[in-house]
């Protein structure tokens, strides 16, 4: 097990696995551990079996691992994806009353913990989750008052419920201490760092807070997993931050209302998933021709169509890349962790405003539903600026500016009239059918691509790519790959993680040209990013590592996949 633990909690929807995760991660982080948590759940409100993985470590970790050191199944009916991950080293803390014979004959170590009975005694069977939280805190050396404090923070609004959870947690804590003290279970804990007190940020929060830091003051959405986590966060904090949030009638309204808000001087974001984004495409095209900025957050999930509503995938890159009819520049950002999600969401607003183009923040369910530790997230007023102008009497919305960016006026800010038009138009925004004007305007709009290319963010490179095998990844796959490479410990592999996938940074050409083999690891079935790399550099990936089962790669899976490739064989 080494100096690091992977704890997996399973339970039915409605059993409060989520709550345990929140409590535990916070308790552990406050105790000085490094933590990471990620979950997977079925598309249902009650029942089924969901799981959450919590990693407890002495160093920073931020990736899903296959390995389960400690499994806490709160109900029976474990799904195959969990069974597969159990090994003889796995310790199971389970309640025989609930699980019956489910684990009999399995080579793991099973310790019977009567979660249900303990919960009943503490006030109701519904708090088995808090019992589990108590047990785990005890095992990981969390001080009881710290757990108690967290319970108080969480349930302060409902005193009765607080009390039940408190006594459940306490009884669990005692049981955990008992296990330790009786030496039935001894974990060699990672060393805690008393100065380590990270902020814990899931993907939803990271995107939301980054957007807010970027000046986002208007959010539109039609609920759709996983994009609606951002809607929920923004609504729940709308009063706090003084912003406008509206759940609209459909995604078409979401994109059009956001465009209206931008045109009038707001900074709006629509948040959705692939299916909702597909409905927004006409609106994206409107953003392009009217040169009205927009930011759309797209949380990817497996398609086509409804696909798997609560699962993850990276298969909407090309959808975003070619979204909307006609031709126009755009930006696609693809954060890999909470820090990137924050930074890029902030940047999205600046770029949308500065270049008057649609900017897409392309995340996925895995990223959004994972909890990352961050030292901090920088917010300062200095880095913020508006990019619109006060309009004068000769104001022309579509002035043929040399760099393609016509100064953008805002209704009510100045004396000039602002004429925004969805047809091909002249400089003043009037409908224009002259072929020459058409050419000029189309060239003007496209010329912004050059500015975007110059501004593009370079990939993060680990290792020395020169003459090495180079693995490329984007979005949430990056951190998993990084840990996989660390696991492999090979010096002949370098990694480039792209947090911006379009336009690509110019360094990509050299990067790719100098590499021995190019391997692209991404979460889809056809290698979309590999295609983009080929298109941009001419270089075809030598190998693809693809995953389209609905769950993120594990560290182990990527490591063994790379090993297999480098042992020869297995060309794409």
């Amino acid at each position: 097990m080494g100096n690091e633990f992977s704890v997996v909690l399973c339970g039915a929807a409605g059993q409060g696995v989520q709550t345990v995760e929140n409590l535990l991660v916070k308790a552990l982080a406050r105790s000085g551990f490094h933590v990471f948590a990620t979950k997977e759940s079925m598309s249902r409100v009650r029942g089924g079996s969901n799981s959450t993985e919590i990693r407890i470590s002495g160093r920073h970790v931020e990736a899903f691992v296959e390995r389960i050191d400690l499994l806490v199944p709160l109900n029976g009916g474990l799904r195959p994806n969990i069974w597969k991950r159990l090994s003889p080293e796995t310790i199971v803390l389970g309640d025989r009353e609930e699980l019956k014979e489910e684990f009999v004959g399995h080579p793991c170590t099973f310790l019977d913990v009567p979660f249900l009975e303990m919960a009943r005694q503490a006030g109701g069977a519904l708090t088995a989750n808090s019992v589990a939280a108590g047990v785990l805190c005890a095992l990981f050396g969390v001080e009881y008052p710290d757990l108690d404090q967290l319970l108080v923070e969480r349930f302060s609004a409902k005193p009765e419920i607080l009390e039940k959870n408190r006594s459940s947690a306490e009884s669990g804590f005692r049981q955990g201490m008992d296990l330790v003290e009786k030496n039935r279970l001894s974990l060699s804990l990672p060393e805690a760092d008393p100065h380590w007190r990270p902020a814990l940020v899931d993907g939803h929060k990271a995107v939301s807070l980054g957007a807010l830091a970027g000046g986002c003051n208007f959010v539109t959405a039609y609920p759709m997993s996983p994009g609606s986590g951002v809607l929920a966060f923004m609504s729940q904090n709308a009063a706090r931050f003084g912003i406008a949030v509206e759940q609209v009638e459909d995604e078409i309204a979401a994109v059009n209302m956001a465009l209206g808000a931008w045109a009038a001087g707001g900074r709006a974001m629509a948040t959705t998933s692939g299916g909702g984004f597909a409905l927004m495409e006409e609106g994206i095209s409107l953003s392009a021709v009217t040169e009205t900025p927009i930011v759309v957050h797209v949380g990817q999930r497996p398609g086509p169509a409804t696909g798997m509503a609560t699962r993850t995938e990276q298969a909407d890159l090309e959808l975003a890349l070619y979204a909307g009819h006609g031709e126009f520049p755009r930006v696609i950002l693809s954060p890999g962790n909470a820090r990137e999600a924050f930074d890029l969401s902030r940047l999205a607003f600046d770029w949308a405003d500065r270049y008057q183009v649609p900017v897409f923040i392309l995340t996925d369910e895995y990223l959004l539903d994972s909890v990352f530790e961050v030292e901090g997230l920088p917010v300062d007023e200095g880095s913020f600026s508006h990019h619109f102008v006060e309009s004068g009497p000769d104001y022309l919305r579509y002035r043929l500016a040399e760099d393609g960016v016509s100064p953008r006026g805002i209704f009510g800010n100045g004396t000039g009239l602002i004429r925004i038009d969805s047809h091909e138009h002249d400089e003043s925004g009037h409908i224009e059918e002259d072929f020459d004007m058409r050419e000029r305007m189309q060239m003007k709009r496209m010329s912004k691509l050059k500015l975007l290319e110059e501004a593009a963010l370079p990939p993060t490179v680990h290792g020395n790519p020169k003459d090495a095998n180079l693995v490329l990844s984007w979005g949430s796959t990056g951190p998993v790959l990084q840990e996989a490479l660390a696991l492999l410990g090979r010096t002949d592999i370098a990694l480039a993680h792209f947090s911006q996938v379009y336009p690509l940074h110019s360094s990509v050409l050299d990067l790719v040209a100098g590499a021995r083999k190019i391997i692209v690891a991404e979460g889809n079935s056809t290698g979309q990013f590999a295609r983009l790399i080929r298109l941009s550099t001419g270089r075809k990936a030598d190998h693809l590592l693809l995953n389209f089962r609905g769950h993120q790669f594990s560290v182990e899976e990527l490591a063994s996949g790379l090993e297999r490739i480098l042992l020869g064989g297995d060309a794409q």
């Binding site: 814990l200 912003i243 006409e282 409908i431």
Partner: protein, 288 residues
């Protein structure tokens, strides 16, 4: 103010001679100037269609967006910049066909804007197909055996969903139109004005003559403005169809933008704001 201040020079007027849209355009200019609004205070938002070209033919800020989508754009504009006078303008295909869902939900949301629908009962710009309000039996190049579907009743729809202001006028009844459009703009909340408008090129059924013969103007006393049930009866009446304001909420109903947390502490339009960095930092600290 003089309505001429709303004129644009050298405009390439692409409407057909004799089209009812001209009457609506000049009425609208008169109303806006009559209200003492300068073009700088007005945002004219439209979709696509002949009616939706209106903003191009007058002064004012404009957004001509996508077919059917004027209402969400207009709602976004008003919510981001509540000081502006916002109009959403379009045709019957635009607002009741492609945009039907936005109409339904704009009514429920009640943003403070006036929604003018030039209802010519036909698709003008795309050359004469049936629109949602085309009468049953009307023949067109697509509905060659005559329209089959029941025409949409926009007024009944609006009243049934609690619209804050519902009226109908006729482009040629310019005095009435002036009065109604003015009231709609002044009205705080969502205001639907369905405007019967002859399309001389494609609608040979609902002509100037037809509209004249098949409408009557509601007289004072015939309507209890605040009675939704009576308004519904009127909305379901016709032919002849009543012209006038059928329903108006009593003052006091809160508008969409008024209830937004964005305007609870500050009243500034959003473009005057910067991110609340202190609050964001504090929130992040709370995540430790």
């Amino acid at each position: 103010m003089n309505p001429r201040e709303y004129d644009v020079e050298n405009v390439d007027m692409s409407w057909c001679p004799g089209c009812g849209n001209f009457q609506i355009l000049s009425t609208l200019k008169e109303v806006l100037s009559g209200l003492g609004l300068s073009p700088q205070e007005v945002v004219l938002i439209s979709g696509i269609g002949q009616a939706a070209k209106t903003p191009h033919f007058m002064k004012g800020h404009i957004i001509q967006g996508l077919h059917g989508r004027a209402l969400p754009v207009a709602t976004g504009v008003k919510a981001a910049n509540p000081g502006m006078t916002v109009l959403a303008i379009g045709g019957d295909g635009d607002m009741y066909g492609e945009g039907g869902n936005h109409l339904l939900h704009a009514i429920r949301r009640n943003p403070d804007l006036a929604n003018l629908v030039h209802n010519n009962m036909v698709y003008g710009l795309t050359k004469g197909q049936a629109s949602p309000t085309s009468p049953v039996g009307m023949k067109t190049p697509v509905q060659v055996e005559g329209v089959f579907s029941e025409p949409l009743n926009p007024l009944a729809l609006a009243i049934s969903q609690g619209a804050s202001f519902v009226a109908r006028t006729f482009s040629a009844a310019t005095d009435l139109s002036r009065e109604i459009i003015k009231a709609a703009i002044i009205h705080k909340g969502y205001a639907l004005v369905d405007i019967f408008q002859p399309c001389v090129s494609f609608n040979k059924v609902n002509t100037y003559k037809w509209f004249k013969e098949n409408t009557f103007v509601l007289q004072d006393g015939q309507v209890d403005l605040h009675d939704r049930r009576k308004a519904m009866e009127l909305a379901m009446t016709g032919p002849p169809y009543p012209l006038g304001i059928l329903y108006q909420d009593r003052p006091g109903r809160v508008t969409f933008e008024e209830q937004l947390p964005a305007y609870r502490e500050k009243k500034d339009p959003l473009w005057k704001r910067k991110p609340p960095v202190g609050l964001i930092s504090a929130f992040i600290e709370g995540l430790r």
